[in-house]
Amino acid sequence: MTKEVIIRFDHVTKRYDNDAVVLDHVSFEIERGKFYTLLGPSGCGKTTILRLIAGFTEASEGDIYFNGKRMNNVPANKRQVNTVFQDYALFPHLNVYENVAFGLRIKKVKNSEIDRRVKEALRFVNLSGYEKREITEMSGGQRQRVAIARAIVNEPEVILLDEPLSALDLKLRTEMQYELRDLQKRLGITFIFVTHDQEEALAMSDEIFVLNQGKIQQSGTPTDIYDEPINRFVADFIGESNIVPGKMIRDFEVEFAGKVFECVDQGLNQNESVDIVIRPEDLEITSWNEGKIQVKVDSQLFRGVHYEMICYDEAQNEWLVHSTKKATVGEKIGLNFEPEAIHVMRLGETEEEFDKRLESYQEAGYEQ
């Protein structure tokens, strides 16, 4: 299947009342048939992007294209997208059937056709037989499904999901993650999913946009973003990480925690200051002498699948370690890691520069 761009943002800015900038020159492309996640803390602008696509709000600057056509001024009811709202926004005066049929009735679809499609949509979300129920009689998870059925029944090209799982309890949420992912694959419709839950994003997406303060920090597949975070924010937001200041001595050699280590990064300036990221699960406990870093265990928690411990090295850097092996609080241990576990982040690097560096890995000194 060829890559087909369905939605494109071109330097879109959104500000309210001429001061607070919610989105700051955001550009990206959405390809048909993929599962996208907009991930970020509250107030990062992710919901604003969704509202811009849905047409509930207008961009202050920049252009939004849908299938190549500019759609800034197309009203919400004329757009080929449907939304699953955070609080579901089901119509309380209509029953399940009429809620799902709402969009079709507006399009003046024939009754027999409505009946067929509503029942099919309800079957898709495992709610057959619930047609006559009132919304108030449905549980949170069921309402969620009605909201999804109400969106897919219109056969839109894009479905927008605004933190639709945040109101559900953990077990149901995990279940719905599988179901949503499965549903998207079966339907082949483009999903744009908004969440502040990084686990949800990693589990479900083909592609993630990490947002902070109205800017896209990094975009890529879940593994890309997890393994090669671009900056401190992304590293911190996606999964747990140890971030320590360091210095790039030369290619393949980096200094942090008072020592020089072998690494796999290159193409940076000599003696450039950098941030070093090492994931807690990449750190391995060993004896004091055999470890690459020597630390003292400060506290330890049993997490079920692993022990989580907080350690400090001699330079007072904090090291979070996930290990299946147990340590004793106050014990002095060594930490071991592979050169590949060291992720070097340049300070203030943009996403373009970052991608270019990863791709080329040859020439040095092209920045600024």
Partner: protein
Amino acid sequence: MNNKARWFYLLPYVLWIGLFVITPILLVVYYSFFDLHGNFTLANYEKLFTFVYMKMIASSFWYAFLITAFCLIIAYPAAYFITKTKYKQLLLLLVILPSWINLLLKAYAFLGIFSTDGAANNFLEAVGIGAQQILFTDFSFVFVSVYIFIPFMLLPIFNALDKLNPALIDASRDLGASAWTTFRKVVFPLTLSGVKSGVQAVFIPALSLFMITRLIAGNRVITLGTAIEQHFLVTQDWGMGSAIAVFLIITMVVIMIVTGTRKRGVQ
């Protein structure tokens, strides 16, 4: 112990209802079966179904309907507008404020405004239409009544609109509905309970208006309320007055039942 305490708290309510609601209703029903000379009779109710009274009842309903309809036409868009503004509590207060002023004072104020040399006529002359007889017309009656009743219509509608989840409007637009269709299929059905409360709060009192009929309409408009007042105070025919009152009470109960809010699906 517990039971005693409950009775203690219930007492004021029971006393109030007994003295001021149940007793007066029983008295009114009782009086309605006696003629001017204190003899038991059903004649009062028979008279109610004569042409004169039926006509009066019909005109009462007609005026109450007009007042309610105009109140609704003005109050719904106004309430809608107020919920959309930044200062909705302030604007709401401004609408409600006049209802705190004594009804009689407001009626007298309109006597001044609508009189032959009043502000309204001054304005009409200034724009070249010329002075009109405004006071003691159907128009002035309906106008002043609507003015007085608008807060009672607006408040429940405002509350219903304010409670409406804005995401429902987004959802409707998202599913392809135009602004008008959204209003027709989502906003109005979900605020119908407010409209019903407003209609109750306006239509029922409007049926028994009597002071305004005299002051503003100059007794040209006779409503059920006026008729009751006349029978009690002028002709001293308490029996007939009570019979009309009984009819009015039954009408109110019927209207309450018809416009009663069915709680369906509203969280």
